[in-house]
Amino acid sequence: MSVALKDRSMVLQKEMIADHFEKLAHATETKTPVVYTFVPGNLTELIRSFGALPVLPEINALQSGMRKLSGEYIAEAERAGHSEDVCTYVKCDIGMMRSGNIGPGGKKLPKPDLLLLSYTGCYTFMKWFELLREEYDCPTVMFHVPYQGDGKLEPEHREYMLRQLREQVIPALEKATGRKYDEEKLRHHLALSAMAEEDLVAVLQAGKKRPSPIDGYFGTVYYVGPIFSAFRGTQEGVDYYRALREEVEERAMLGLGPITPDGPLEGEKYRLVVEGPPNWTHFRDFWKMFADEKAVVVASTYTKVGGTYDFGFRHDPNDPLGTLADYCSGCYTNLNLPSRIDMICQYIKEYEADGFLINSVKSCNSFSAGQLMILREVEKRTGIPGAFIESDLVDPRYFSAANIKNRLESYFQMIDARRAGKTP
């Protein structure tokens, strides 16, 4: 492991996560309520304002993927009758639960006191919590976030979300935690969120520099981890993003490239924009395929599933419930296909990318259905040919290293040829 990997932000993140899972492991003894919810449209500040701890099953699933446990968990779920065709996050989670519910910290996760179904941009979420409810037999509250079908948040939809927050979600949290809603506490958490978001955006936008001091996909999935999960609205989150920003700004000042699994990347050769989630079971191998070619991802859409902060959104403590509604509506998977295409084209332009790649994962219809149309449209609008590869999130059966490597190599060769043609 390189020295750079022991950056302060990394140490901080490790400590924060370990501490969080430790708290979860003792939640029953400490009588700390536990709320399960999803990454897109998570209401972490609201959950925290009730003194509860969030658990995000997608994060557990991706961690299981990285720790090479997902294959067995998925097999367990399939043996119990779950179809091979559906999202592997769900099956990984169900398999993990059936195998003792040992979380990423190596300790048993507590049962939920409430399943907060934030139905934001993914149909599977709805079924996932129906399935978990069967197993945990605990209360579930649904928060329906209308999809931005016409590419904008419609005022009536915002009103609908506000009413649900007031009339359904908050009462359910009050009941599950035994505490009253405290708007001042919520404002406090929201103010902390906004501070962290400001620093995160500075980190993300560092990808515009040449060379980019960050990898906007592989590296950034680590960077967004705290804010997409349990730490938005916390002081730890603020400290983490401040430290991260300082490190990234320093690297930018020194003209350094991003840190990769094999140390700092020097001699950035290709600048890419990536659409779609990564594969987690072979995450390092996958990243290495890019790093070996000196390809740096300067921006990605996946790192916006938990909020599109780089387009200006910040949680606003002056409008506590309204800002939660705005946040949920604006998460990447809640945007329609034309908006997603606009975003990718904008990234290509602003981050001066010379290529874009779609990693289409079998699990996820929310992301994947329509990606071939995205490919065509982006190629048409930017004049840059894209690459299309297929894998999965946490199902190791669907990661074909040789195929993906071949595809990437030919893609980089094509970029070279185009460059040669343009600059004789």
Binding site: H82, C87, Y123, E130, Q168, A369, L372
Partner: protein, 400 residues
């Protein structure tokens, strides 16, 4: 090409003639009956909707002929559609895109994409990009049966649709006109319930193949025409009773969106199963009770959706025990012996629901089998064998 049937809609017709009328419409992927309707109604427009639930009353009241878009089944070769979808996405959207890209849906001035799943949702975005002149709306139905916020939200969506669709046709309906459309669709749903009741009671007289063709025709013709043909069909059935066979009674679950090929339905029936309930084309009877035709009609439609007792994989189930008891209740209501989970490959709503539904069914001692299909599946031997073995085992099990 769909042929016109002689004799007008009020006169009696032989069962075969009604079925052939419906089969012609089903087979005709050029939607000739819709094009004919447009010729006959120069001020009217055709408005498509994808599965599952779209408020047809609103299309109708604004001057549209509502047209169900269900893919091309096994009758359509996919040439362009595969370029839009990866292999691990169900067949329906590629088939719908094929219909559209080959010009077969060019008579549609509006298309509604209900919140059935993320595939149909994202298809709405593709449509916006490919057909910018067509009115496209993702119809996000409320997910909780809450008479406050959810009903208000849905009423707002319906008003928006009335305004937008009214702009397309140039006809913003009065409350009275919307009430008339509501009444017409109440009658349509009542007719479908009557057909289902007839099949449940005498499945030997009302084969599902025939019922299904009639319902499919109903997705392309005006509601009055469907009602009239359905009446003729029921009258013909009553006049032409068939012999009851020693078949098992099954419920089909999971086929609410991408439709099975007709051959699959026939194979199940020929294997010794009477299909006594199913969720084919379930959008046509999604509202289980009549919508009131007095008061504010938008509010009436919104409240009807909220109060509705249709259980479906495309809606969130608020009752924690709901999934466990659903199959037991449906089997009891249909007086059925078993369940066939017949689901399209890669269909999230159906396949994610299946373990919960099957678990509940098996706990209640209901025999189940499950298989997957695609709308263009061409080989039925395997399904026939599976269904035949199932029917036999039910008989043995029932006799034990």
């Amino acid at each position: 090409m769909a042929t016109r049937v002689d004799g007008g809609m009020g006169t009696p017709m032989a069962r075969g003639a009604v079925v052939e009328w419906a089969r012609d419409i089903y087979d005709d992927l050029d939607f000739t009956v819709v094009r004919q309707w447009l010729e006959d109604h120069p001020k009217g427009k055709a408005g498509g909707y994808l599965p599952v639930y779209a408020p047809r009353e609103v299309l109708h009241a604004t001057g549209f002929l509502p047209v169900g878009i269900h893919g091309g089944g096994d009758r359509l070769e996919i040439i362009r559609g595969d370029a839009f979808y990866q292999s691990y996405i169900c067949h329906l959207p590629r088939s719908v895109i094929e219909l559209a890209q080959s010009g077969r849906l060019d008579m549609l001035s509006a298309v509604l994409f209900p919140s059935t799943c993320d595939v149909i949702r994202n298809l709405s975005g593709i449509w916006k990009l490919l057909y910018p002149d067509v009115y496209v709306r993702y119809v996000d139905v409320p997910q909780i049966p809450d008479p406050g916020a959810a009903a208000e939200f849905w009423a707002g969506e319906l008003r928006r649709l009335l305004d937008d669709l009214g702009d397309v046709t140039g006809h913003r309906p009065t409350d009275e006109e919307l009430r008339r459309s509501i009444a017409l669709y109440n009658e349509t749903r009542e007719m479908i319930r009557t057909l289902y009741a007839a099949r449940r009671e005498r499945p030997w007289d009302v084969p599902t193949e025939e019922l299904y063709l009639l319902l499919r025709a109903g997705e392309s013709v005006a509601p009055e025409e469907f009602i009239a043909r359905a009446k003729q069909y029921l009258a013909a059935v009553a006049a032409d009773p068939k012999r009851q066979r020693d078949n098992s009674r099954v419920v089909i679950v999971g086929a609410f969106c991408e439709q099975p090929p007709l051959g699959l339905i026939k194979s199940i029936e020929r294997a010794g199963c009477y299909i006594v309930d199913d969720d084919f084309l379930v959008g046509n009877r999604f509202l289980t009770h009549d919508v009131p035709t007095d008061g504010d009609p938008v509010r009436a439609l919104a409240d009807a959706f909220i109060r509705n007792d249709m259980k479906s994989s495309v809606l969130y189930e608020i009752d924690p025990g709901g999934k466990r008891s659903l199959m037991k209740n449906r089997v009891a209501a249909a007086n059925a012996d078993g369940i066939i989970f017949a689901t399209p490959s890669f269909c999230d709503p159906a396949l994610l629901d299946q373990p919960m539904l099957r678990n509940g069914a098996e706990k209640a001692g209901i025999p189940c089998i499950a298989f997957k299909y695609a709308e263009n599946t061409g080989q039925f031997q395997q399904f026939r064998e599976q269904a035949g073995t199932f029917a036999d085992s039910i008989k043995l099990w029932g006799a034990a």
